[in-house]
Each structure stands twice: as structure tokens, then as C-alpha cells.
């Protein structure tokens, strides 16, 4: 077994750019999935009954599908449905956002439900409208409670971005495996890939632990 780790250094620029894409995908997905998730949760809780059913169906469907299937589905079906020639990056982003929005919606729903009913009633007794009560009393408290869950969804999402490599999005997993295929330095590249994910993911996992300790709900 002869190892040649210089291959990692030779491809450093591609790896750094790919790591950037991974981080960008994570941030962009969350930026879409938090407001959308909150909206879906609100629809599920307060909307007109048929809309409520639709929102529930969406959440249950996407929570019960493997992400890799959603990625393939988005890759082949979205262009046919929308008639748009989406880039792999946009397709991957769409698939991730569809998936994470469903999870976030469930998180927000649990968070909103966890605030006692009495608070809405009290707010309404003070003359606030339902929307006002929701916006000024319920949501601020619910957001604090869901923060730990959102944080662990974030870490899962960071790892799940690796799955869009199957549709040739040039993020870390895809680029590392491309270099592996071109240079045949299998062990070196795969280990470097794992190491980069570890270096980025480990502090995030530790941060999640800290957030969960800090925001733990005690009653």
C-alpha cells in the first residue's frame, strides 16, 4: 500500500470551492426552509380545512421519503413540470428545501402547540386580534423553544447536502469523488473528504449540544 497524500494538496482549490458550495447549500436551504416551514405550520394549524389537509399531506409525505429519492425526483420531474432548465445546484437546493421545510413545519407546529392555550385567551381578552396574539405572544416564545430542534436539523441538513452529489452538484462529496475517479487515489481522497466533513461538522454538533443545554425547557 503506497499512499500519496499530495493529491489532496494538489486539488486544494477544487476542494475549497466545493466546501464553499456545501456551506452555501446549507445556508440557502435553511434560509428558504425556516420561513416556508413556519408558513406551512401556520397553514396546518389555522387555515381553512382543505388547506390544512393539504399542508398535513405535504409534511407527512416528505417526512416519509428518503431524501436521495426526492433529489432524483426533483432532477427528472421538476424540469418536465416547470418547463425550466434548472441547474443541478438549483435542483439540489429545491429538493433539500422541500425536505427540510417539511421537517421545520413539524418542528414549528410542535413549538406553537407547546405554548399553553391560556396565553392566546389572555391576549385576546386584552383586546388583541388572533393574528396579533400569534405574532406578539405565541411565535416569540415558540421560536425560543424550537431553536434546539432547528439546530439539530441544521446539522442533519449540513450532512444531507452530500446527497445532492448524485445529480452532479459540485459540492464536497461530488468533487472529492470526481478527483478520486480521475487520480485513482481512493483512500486519500475519501479520507480527506471525511476529514473535511468532520472538521466542519464536529464543532456544529458540539454547538448543538450547547444550544440544547442553554435552551432546555424546564417546567
Amino acid at each position: 500500500m503506497t499512499l500519496d497524500w499530495s493529491v489532496v494538496w494538489q486539488h486544494r482549490e477544487a476542494l475549497v470551492a466545493a466546501t464553499g458550495t456545501t456551506i452555501l447549500l446549507t445556508i440557502a436551504t435553511m434560509a428558504i426552509a425556516v420561513p416556508c416551514g413556519l408558513m406551512v405550520a401556520a397553514l396546518r394549524l389555522y387555515a381553512w380545512a382543505p388547506v390544512r389537509t393539504l399542508a398535513t399531506a405535504y409534511v407527512e409525505l416528505f417526512r416519509n421519503l428518503p431524501l436521495i429519492l426526492v433529489v432524483f425526483w426533483a432532477f427528472y420531474v421538476l424540469p418536465i413540470w416547470t418547463g425550466l432548465g434548472l441547474s443541478p445546484l438549483a435542483t439540489g437546493l429545491a429538493a433539500l428545501a422541500l425536505n427540510v421545510t417539511a421537517y421545520n413545519a413539524e418542528t414549528f407546529r410542535a413549538g406553537l402547540n407547546s405554548i399553553r392555550r391560556g396565553q392566546v385567551e389572555a391576549a385576546m381578552a386584552l383586546g388583541m386580534s388572533r393574528t396579533q396574539a400569534l405574532r406578539r405572544v405565541i411565535v416569540p416564545q415558540a421560536l425560543r423553544r424550537v431553536l434546539p430542534v432547528l439546530a439539530s436539523t441544521w446539522v442533519s441538513l449540513f450532512k444531507d447536502t452530500s446527497l445532492v452529489s448524485v445529480i452532479a452538484v459540485t459540492e464536497l462529496a461530488y468533487v472529492a469523488m470526481q478527483v478520486r475517479a480521475q487520480t485513482f487515489r481512493v483512500l486519500e481522497m475519501l479520507t480527506a473528504m471525511a476529514a473535511i466533513y468532520w472538521l466542519l461538522g464536529y464543532p456544529q454538533a458540539k454547538l448543538v449540544d450547547w444550544i440544547q443545554r442553554k435552551y432546555r425547557v424546564t417546567e
Binding site: M1, E60, L61, R63, N64, L65, P66, L67, I68, L69, F72, W73, Y76, V77, I80, V155, K159, D160, T161, S162, L163, S165, V166, A173, M177, R180, V186, L187, L190, T191, M193, A194, Y197, W198, L200, G201, Y202, Q204, A205, K206
Partner: protein
């Protein structure tokens, strides 16, 4: 849409469903068993072992399962000289990854039983092993049920990622049929239905069982 593509290849697709079920069941069992041992090592093991176990658990939380699977299949033969068929490599990779998660579920469950109970049992002259077996675990196991329900659903979803290392499970077989027939909408829609039908009863079933036995976990 022409769903005859499904009926034409049903035998091929059904074999994939069987592999998915077998891989899910096997990796579910092995990772729960391994996770139990890991949790015990973390909580009651010798002092020098604990940081190693914690490093392992947090590393698995930081590295994507895709990376673990690819590493196990492509890099492990180079390092260890062990060549495994894709199915067994996937079983090993999934177990290594998921055991960390099940260990955390065990730990949370065991820690949720109030320490006063352990002290009371010690005062009554029970040994550590007896306390774990007769006092702590019977309550903890019930409390862990919902977490293991979602764990099982994650396990089934993660087996789809094994398609990347050519395990002939359902995701892989669907890709193959799609590649031969060029009917992505039909094939992937069917795959979505199948995965949903596999996953939805698991999550719902565990919830139902939990509701029946939840009172056994109270103390």
C-alpha cells in the same frame, strides 16, 4: 403517464424492496445492539474509554452517512484488506453510523430515570447490573420507544443511500429501471409511493404502541 413500466419490471423492483427490507431489519438490529453497548461504555465504562466513545459518537454526528458508506466500501479494502460485497459493506457502514445515534437514545432514556431510584435500589443492596436490568431499563425502554420509532424510519431512509455503492435495494433498482426505460416520472412516483407505504406505518405503528404502553414508563 404509462405505468406499464412498473408492471413490466415488477419482479426486478420487488427484489429491490426485499433487499431494502432485509438491509433495514439487519442494520436496525445490529445498530440497536451496538448502540446499547456503546451507551453502556459511555456511561459505566472505564474512565479511559469514555472520551474515545464520546469522540466516536460525535464524529458520527458530524460525518454524512454517504461518506461513511463510500469509505467502508471503497477505502476499507485498501486499509484493512477486507473486501466486502456491497450489501455487507452497507450493513457495516450503516451500523457504524447508526449505532452512535441509538447509543444517544439509550443514554437519554437511561438518564431520564431519576437518580433517586438508583440510590434507593443501591440502599436495598442491589448490584449495579441488577439495578440497570430490573429498575432502570424497564422504565427507560418504554420512554425510548418514540425515539426508536423515528430511528427505525431513519434507518429505512438511510438504506436508500446504499444505492450509491450499488446495493441492489429498491432505490438502486428504480434507478436502473429508469435508466433503461427513460420514464422517470412513472418510476420515481412509484418509488415514492412504495417508500411512503413502507415508512408511514412504521412511524404511526410505533406511536400507537407507545400510546398503549406510555403509562408503564411513568414514575
Amino acid at each position: 403517464m404509462d405505468f406499464s413500466v412498473i408492471t413490466d419490471h415488477w419482479r426486478f423492483l420487488a427484489s429491490g424492496v426485499l433487499v431494502t427490507l432485509a438491509l433495514s431489519a439487519l442494520s436496525g438490529v445490529t445498530s440497536i445492539a451496538a448502540g446499547f453497548v456503546v451507551a453502556l461504555a459511555r456511561m459505566y465504562g472505564p474512565r479511559w474509554l469514555r472520551p474515545i466513545v464520546i469522540l466516536y459518537i460525535d464524529s458520527m454526528r458530524a460525518i454524512p452517512v454517504l461518506v461513511v458508506l463510500v469509505w467502508t466500501f471503497f477505502a476499507l479494502p485498501i486499509v484493512g484488506g477486507i473486501t466486502m460485497a456491497p450489501f455487507w459493506a452497507a450493513l457495516v457502514g450503516l451500523t457504524v453510523h447508526l449505532a452512535a445515534y441509538s447509543a444517544e437514545i439509550f443514554r437519554a432514556g437511561i438518564e431520564s430515570v431519576r437518580p433517586g431510584q438508583t440510590r434507593a435500589a443501591l440502599a436495598l443492596g442491589m448490584s449495579r447490573a441488577q439495578i440497570l436490568r430490573r429498575i432502570v431499563l424497564p422504565q427507560a425502554v418504554v420512554r425510548m420507544l418514540p425515539a426508536f420509532g423515528s430511528f427505525l424510519s431513519v434507518t429505512i431512509k438511510d438504506t436508500a443511500i446504499a444505492s450509491v455503492i450499488a446495493v441492489p435495494e429498491f432505490m438502486r433498482q428504480s434507478e436502473t429501471v429508469q435508466g433503461q426505460t427513460f420514464q422517470p416520472i412513472e418510476v420515481y412516483t412509484f418509488a415514492m409511493v412504495v417508500y411512503f407505504l413502507l415508512l408511514f406505518p412504521v412511524t404511526r405503528g410505533v406511536d400507537l404502541v407507545y400510546r398503549r404502553v406510555a403509562h408503564l414508563g411513568r414514575s
